[in-house]
């Protein structure tokens, strides 16, 4: 075993290498825009240079003269498309701002024309030659701009149902021995997945095939069909690999139906590969947020009052919000809790999911405040968490299905060497560098969604698993193959997994870290159907079948003596008994507590995630603890983070290798979010200024010398058949606060606004 392939502990699968590793590093993995098309035309977008106003006119003469130009589509001649509602209001769209509908412009970088040409180069050149005359109106850029409006999230966002509260916060806070009030801010951020927001559309008769990086092929298929006004069965979305998603590809963007419509009109496949900077405005992003936290505690550190007020920016058109108070009001024991989330509308594109959407900004605020409280109490921040640890969430009193928060703190503290920390700020240094240690809790809701699968087993053990899941880089192929191999008792090499295609049985959106739990549960269930058919052939007697059932199951040991003595299934014999060469089963799985319309919604591309704090009589979260070492240069004030250590517990770990990669990526992103990432907005024009990878800073290798991921063994039998909690979004939640807490320790300076840059340091 190596660091990359950790030794599995109890309730962990094998760290088998990624099924797609070689294909990816050798460039053989095919992404959307790699798909060969027959005689394609190439599209290039023209996007608006103003954030608000109208287009007076286009001058296309120069552009049309470029050799190879086929068509230039503007609002004056755009294909007629129906509107789709926002995903949170029963639609598919990530934004209801539909470009090319009229001369109006609602945000910076809105699509205002599509140039189609015989080559990418010609389309690009012609796009550069399109001249636009605008009437600009002064836009509202963000929180402090004149002209924004602010209102509570509850009542306008269908998915934000309640501002959690319990007890009497005001009274408890006023009477608390220790009080803390602090405000925090997080910036605009963009996902910047490596694969651009490409789309290829090819019609065959009245059937449309879309190659596009999507985290939800069923959502996209149904959404585009709705916009085109055609039957969803006539649309197929294919993407065997997605070059990173991070939430940016969870809901439909307007580009897809536009390209599909143009392809139909021209009767030719069209390939669109937008530029990096266009990705900042034609898709979604993490909006900037503001927070005020109030904590009241007794002298021994016990929380008596907690209030979290959050505000988030959204577009004029859509009430998107992440509303992380559902997590921050439930993380610690506290009898008196209050909260409020508001949405501020500005002239911006609609924000959307970005890796751990609610938890990243909201836990930054809470976990920073907890550190500030620990300082006030003169208490070790780990002990403060221990004092307030709980088995039941405080709002509804529901029990956590499992919660290894303090075990994670203890493991990570040991690995990190927390004991070597001298508590006083500014008390540790090394030459030119002040050293700070910091830590924070991390958590993410355990979510599941309905999923269907088809499994086909051949006599020779070859197995085909089909499910419209998504390989966004997480290792989905690998763990699905592991699940089927283990369940059917066939060698891993004999399992072929097919995902990323909406012609396969419906899988859920690859979002909210639900994929592993949902798709593996479905595949497990259907594998059991296959086994049962075989068993039935061999032992038609019911009771025998029950006994046989007890012998299968991941991480389960046979519970009866009779079962233990059973041999594994003899495939040859079973197939002989059945008299066929292939057994194929289809099944639909839904999690406990799924709404009654779940399966219908699953087929029509509506995600129905259940879990987290929304479960009926329990609450399910994955937990972790993150420790960082920060170094601040006395002279340049440069901030570096040489060490990140995280310990995580997330139920069954399907594959410690892929799990570690996810968590490592999360820690690195968390550090990036604390120190580097911010989309700069020009206040006057409401335009994104640093919309490229040179100026939108992300860490380079030299910024990440040390990352250690510790996987804790945890068994949870109350969440889903697999027993897995999602962990894709667990790693990057606590890091922001851990870094700021470490900066405080290094410098004595509390920084409450991200990202922290050298000019914010005043040592």
């Amino acid at each position: 075993m190596t660091a990359a392939a950790p030794e599995p502990k109890a309730n962990m699968g094998q760290p088998v290498p990624r099924y797609d590793a070689v294909a990816k590093v050798t460039g053989r993995a095919t992404y959307g825009s790699d798909m060969p098309l027959d005689n394609p035309a190439y599209a290039f977008l023209v996007t608006s240079a103003i954030a608000k106003g109208r287009i007076n006119s286009f001058d296309l003469a120069d552009a049309k003269r470029v050799r190879g130009v086929i068509d230039i589509v503007t609002h004056e001649n755009a294909p007629d498309l129906k509107e789709s509602k926002l995903f949170s209001n029963g639609g598919y769209a990530g934004t209801t701002i539909q470009p090319l509908k009229s001369a109006d412009i609602a945000h910076d970088g809105e699509i205002i024309a599509v140039v189609v040409a015989e080559s990418y180069e010609a389309a690009r050149e012609a796009a550069n030659r399109v001249k636009v005359s605008y009437s600009a109106v002064s836009p509202s850029a963000s929180f402090d701009s004149p002209g924004t409006t602010k209102a509570g999230a509850k009542g306008q966002n269908g998915q934000f149902k309640e501002d959690p509260k319990v007890g009497d916060f005001a009274k408890a806070f006023n009477e608390a021995e220790i009080q803390l009030t602090a405000s925090y801010e997080t910036p605009t951020q963009h996902h910047n997945p490596m694969e651009l927001f490409s789309t290829s559309c090819a019609w065959m008769g009245d059937t449309l095939v879309i190659y596009e990086p999507s985290q939800y092929v069923y959502g996209l298929k149904n959404g585009v069909a709705e916009q085109l006004g055609i039957d969803a069965d006539k649309v197929r979305v294919v993407n065997p690999y997605v070059g990173g998603g991070f939430g940016s590809r969870g809901s439909m963007t307007p580009r897809t139906a536009i390209i599909a419509g143009i392809a139909k009109r021209l009767n030719r496949p069209i390939k669109l590969v937008p530029t990096r900077d266009q990705g900042f405005t034609i898709a979604t992003y993490r909006a900037e947020t503001r927070h005020e936290i109030k904590l009241g505690a007794s002298r021994d550190g016990k929380l008596v009052a907690l209030r979290h007020e959050g505000a988030e920016v959204s577009s004029r058109a859509d009430p998107y919000c992440v509303g992380g108070t559902k997590t921050t009001t439930r993380l610690y024991a506290c009898p008196n809790v209050d909260s409020l989330v508001s949405i501020v509308r500005a002239d911006r594109n609609t924000p959307g999911f970005m890796r751990s959407p609610p938890e990243v900004p909201y836990l930054f605020a809470l976990e920073s405040a907890m550190d500030e409280l620990a300082v006030k109490l003169n208490m070790d921040p780990i002990e403060l968490r221990r004092v307030n640890d709980t088995t039941n969430e405080p709002i509804g009193g529901k029990p956590y299905t499992s919660r290894s928060l303090m075990a994670c703190f203890d493991e990570a503290a040991k690995a990190f060497g927390w004991a070597q920390r001298s508590a006083a700020p500014k008390s540790m240094s090394d030459g030119d560098w002040l050293i700070g240690y910091g830590c924070a809790a991390t958590c993410y809701p355990t979510q599941m969604a309905p999923a269907a699968a088809r499994v086909r087993l051949q006599r020779d053990g070859r197995t085909r698993v089909e499910i419209a899941g998504h390989e966004i880089g997480t290792g989905a192929y690998t763990i699905l193959a592991q699940t089927a191999a283990e369940r059917l008792g066939v060698p891993l090499e004999k399992v072929a997994v097919f995902i990323g295609d909406s012609d396969l049985p419906p899988g859920p959106v690859a979002g909210g870290s639900n994929s592993t739990a949902s798709t593996c549960s479905a595949v497990m269930m259907v594998c059991d159907q296959v086994r049962q058919r075989l068993f039935k052939a061999m032992m038609p007697n019911e009771s025998l079948m029950d006994k046989a059932k007890e012998t299968v199951g991941m991480g389960q040991t046979p519970s009866t003596e009779a079962a233990k003595s059973d041999r594994p299934l003899d495939l040859e014999k079973a197939f002989d008994a059945l008299g066929v060469g292939v057994v194929e089963e289809y099944g639909e799985w839904k999690p406990e507590g799924a709404p009654p319309d779940s399966f219908k919604a699953m087929h029509s591309g509506h995600a129905r995630l259940v879990g987290g704090a929304a479960m009926k009589d329990k609450i399910a979260y994955a937990f972790g603890a993150e420790f960082v070492e920060v170094r601040v240069n006395r002279f340049t004030h440069e901030i570096r983070c040489p060490r990140l250590v995280g310990a995580f517990a997330a139920g069954r770990i399907m594959n410690p290798r892929t799990a570690r990669s996810q968590l490592m990526g999360g820690l690195i992103w968390g550090m990036s979010s604390a120190l580097f990432e911010a989309t700069e907005i020009d206040e006057r024009t409401a335009r994104y200024v640093n919309d490229n990878l040179a100026d939108y800073l992300v860490p380079v290798n030299a910024d990440v010398p040390g990352v250690e991921v510790i996987l804790l063994s945890e068994q949870d039998d109350h969440i889903n058949p697999v027993g897995a909690k999602g962990l894709g979004e667990l790693g990057n939640v606590g890091t922001n606060a851990a870094i700021c807490n470490a900066i405080y320790h290094a410098t004595g300076q509390r920084i409450r606004k991200l990202p922290v840059r050298l000019e914010n340091i005043e040592v």
Binding site: T47, E125, N128, D277, T636, V700, E759
Partner: protein
Amino acid sequence: MRPFSYQRATDPDMAVQALSAAAAANNPLTRATSQPLAGGTTLIDLMKLDVMRPAAIVDINPLAQGWSAIEPGGEHLRLGALAKMSDVATHDDIQRNYPVIANSLKLAASAQLRNMATLGGNVMQRTRCNYFRDVSYENCNKRNPGSGCAAMDGVNRMHAVLGTSDQCIATYPGDFAQALIALDATVEVTGRSGTRSMPFADLHKAPGNTPEIETTLQPGDLISAFVIPGRWPRSVYLKARDRQSYEFALSAAAVALDVQDGTIRDARVALGGVATVPWRAREAEAQLKGQKFDDGLAQRAADAAFAEAKGRQHNSFKIALGKRVVVRALQQAVMMEI
């Protein structure tokens, strides 16, 4: 990007001629219709962004044979303009006798870029001002003379505090040029009337009222070499930046000292990341020369270097930062064991 013609120049005359052909247009060099191509890491980038739109590209890489030598002679160091950044950065003699040069190159860009990019192209690299690099902004005097300056009251954290004008505050982004200007380098230019030499300090022009004019070179002029007099083993390039590698300077100092018996006999200070052009801080040097070094002296020199600095909304921090960088660079240079 727009269509362009491509020509390989196999000797300097051919290059000069090809580049001069369009000179009649009387454009400043930055807008000349034919441009030399070296490593391409600036030029191709800006062509893709539609910022530079040359009709003709003259590839000068075939001249590398004669123009890429690294010659650390006795009296002076001669560096061919087509030498690769990485080759110069890792050259033994240069690391030993000109650490300021080696480090200014080593701390620049990324390994891949350094392998591709040339010294001549490096000093000619253009500003990273976002409004300059994005043609959807109308107002950029450098790209679109007379149109105004979007950065002046826009997002200007990366912008200059020295050498600015009310027309342009774009930072000169390179690192190597600070080492050259500090060490009194001369630049050898091959042009229509043969080869001439001039002080490197005369190459770049502050924006003033014509930010579109960045250098004193004319269409047809090519940099063929740099010559650095003397040796400067006691020299430092200190670069403060947002990340540990692959990032432009927020503030940098090129410092070279000649210290004998505790007295500073000669001092060179140049500033990067804070000025519109490669910036020689002669006021700082005047403070240092003939003095015994102590931290107070370093501070006075740093204060002098930034006496004229003017910050805008997001970049004022560069003044305090720049001073601390100068102080630390001086301290490091003094502490060097030679």
